[in-house]
């Protein structure tokens, strides 16, 4: 397979997944609304004092983004596994790693990206300042691809396992912790005036690492799941 045709295949997978999502727009929208709703639940559980809410805002927003991404993980491979498409992908002339990468990119485009773009509106509900909102968006833009990449490994490992939906959380959440700490940390650092660059560059390092190893591990996990 030539390099161009690999890229063509990558593009085709991304387009396919986007097409499938467009068939059910609710899929994309519900991830977003889940995010919104979880963020809005916290004040209801905790109480309406603005000072307190401002303090917990970065944590709440990041935890909500993380949960929303995680919940959308099970749509990553499960449907393709159930109807045999995944078997076909594993038997395709295109290397499975390429197809997997395409699926992960599509997943991020449909979950992480919109979350990042929506976050500032919710930040307003918690009375965050404009500068902090910017840091929030940047941290999410760097952090959510990591979530998708790690999540794909978890989703692949739990394929065909009943209760996979919850199991995947269990596998994936511990790995999400560093992302959460540095993501929320970046916003908090900005809030307290310390500057967020250190946190953000660490996030970027995670991203590089995950982009390097993630698809490979996912491919291996998928082959195991299919056996």
């Amino acid at each position: 397979m030539g390099e161009t045709s690999l890229f063509a295949a990558l593009g085709a997978v991304i387009r396919r997944d986007l097409l499938l999502a467009m068939r059910r727009k609710s899929d994309v929208l519900t991830t977003l609304f889940f995010f919104i709703i979880v963020v809005s639940l916290f004040p209801l559980g905790i109480g309406p004092e603005m000072a307190m809410l401002r303090q917990i805002a970065p944590g709440v927003l990041w935890v909500a983004a993380l949960l929303a991404t995680m919940l959308s993980l099970n749509r990553l491979f499960a449907a393709d596994h159930a109807d045999g498409t995944l078997e076909q992908m594993a038997l395709s002339a295109v290397p499975l790693g390429v197809l997997v990468t395409g699926k992960v990119i599509a997943h991020w485009l449909l979950s992480g990206l919109p979350l990042a773009l929506l976050a500032p509106v919710l930040g307003l509900q918690f009375d965050l300042a404009t500068g902090s909102l910017g840091v929030l968006v940047v941290s999410l833009l760097i952090g959510t691809p990591v979530l998708s990449l790690i999540g794909a490994v978890g989703a692949a490992l739990t394929l065909g396992v009943r209760g996979g939906g919850v199991l995947v959380s269990l596998l994936v959440l511990p790995l999400y912790v560093p992302v959460l700490i540095f993501g929320a940390g970046a916003v908090e650092a900005d809030l307290t005036g310390l500057g967020a660059t250190a946190h953000l560059s660490l996030l970027a390092a995670f991203l590089a690492l995950a982009a390097f190893f993630g698809p490979w591990a996912t491919t291996v996990a998928l082959r195991i799941a299919l056996e």
């Binding site: 059910r24 609710s26 519900t30 609304f33 004040p43 209801l44 109480g47």
Partner: protein
């Protein structure tokens, strides 16, 4: 749904009721709605212009809030409509579920986006009002919170219906959700109210001037009427589209003049 038949019979539909349902058949309703729409648009425009005139040029400047208070002329009508439309929607949904009338489901479906729009406008204008008045775009006040939840209920209804392709199934599923929601709305409202007052005391209650100037009230009422007419007009327009989409294989659709030409 297996139980509908029994339900109908237990109600012992008399002939008058059946007649009434005959009127509500899509075939008779479609042209009727077409005739009514322009009137509602005209009324909406009329009330709107009058309301805006009163709102901007007759109503005096508010002593406490300055000119910012003029948001009230869209904020309050939007808030009212958002709540009222939900009730109407649930009513149609229940009717559809209970009596299997095709039109009611379509009405519910066509009302939902308008209701969501009203809820959104209420939130948006409220936020834009809150910034100058309270210094924050958003506070977790009871009324605000329950309006937000109402917005979510609308979105849930729309998302559920659009995720189901078979329109009959979508109608019924939406109806169940709307009914569950309508039971919950008062519960939500009171729980949120109690939750908030427990914490808050009176620090962020809506700062209302005690006796609203008569002209303000008039402006608000006129605008409310305008919103009402708007909601009817636009949902009738939408329901006509929905009728066409769903009934395209009924004979009467093919005989419509806009189809024949």
């Amino acid at each position: 749904m297996g139980n509908n038949g029994g339900f109908e019979n237990r109600f012992g539909m008399n002939t008058r009721l059946i007649n009434w349902f005959g009127y509500a058949s899509p075939a008779t309703f479609y042209p009727l709605a077409g005739k009514m729409i322009p009137w509602f648009w005209a009324l909406a425009a009329l009330f709107g212009i009058a309301g805006l005139y009163v709102g901007f040029f007759v109503a005096p400047t508010d002593a406490q809030q300055g000119e910012g208070y003029r948001i009230i002329f869209i904020h309050v009508p939007a808030s009212w409509m958002s709540m009222f439309i939900y009730l109407v929607m649930a009513f149609w949904a229940a009717l559809g579920l209970g009596f299997n009338t095709r039109l009611s489901g379509m009405m519910a479906t066509s009302l939902a986006p308008t209701g969501a729009l009203m809820a959104f406008l209420s939130l948006w204008t409220g936020a834009l009002w809150g910034k100058p008045m309270w210094g924050a775009w958003w506070v977790w006040d009871a009324r605000l919170t329950s309006e937000l939840i109402l917005f979510f209920l609308y979105i849930g209804f729309i998302a559920l219906q659009s995720a189901i392709d078979d329109p009959r199934r979508a109608d019924k599923a939406g109806a169940v959700l709307a009914l569950v929601g309508v039971v919950n709305i008062p519960i939500i409202y009171f729980s949120v109210k109690w939750w908030n007052t427990l914490h808050q005391g009176a620090s962020v209650s809506l700062t209302r001037s005690p006796s609203m100037a008569q002209t303000m009230l008039w402006g608000m009422l006129l605008m409310a009427l305008a919103f009402w007419m708007y909601a009817i007009a636009v949902s009738l327009t939408r329901v006509r589209a929905i009728i066409l989409e769903r009934e395209r294989h009924a004979g009467w659709v093919e005989e419509l003049e806009e189809v024949a030409t």
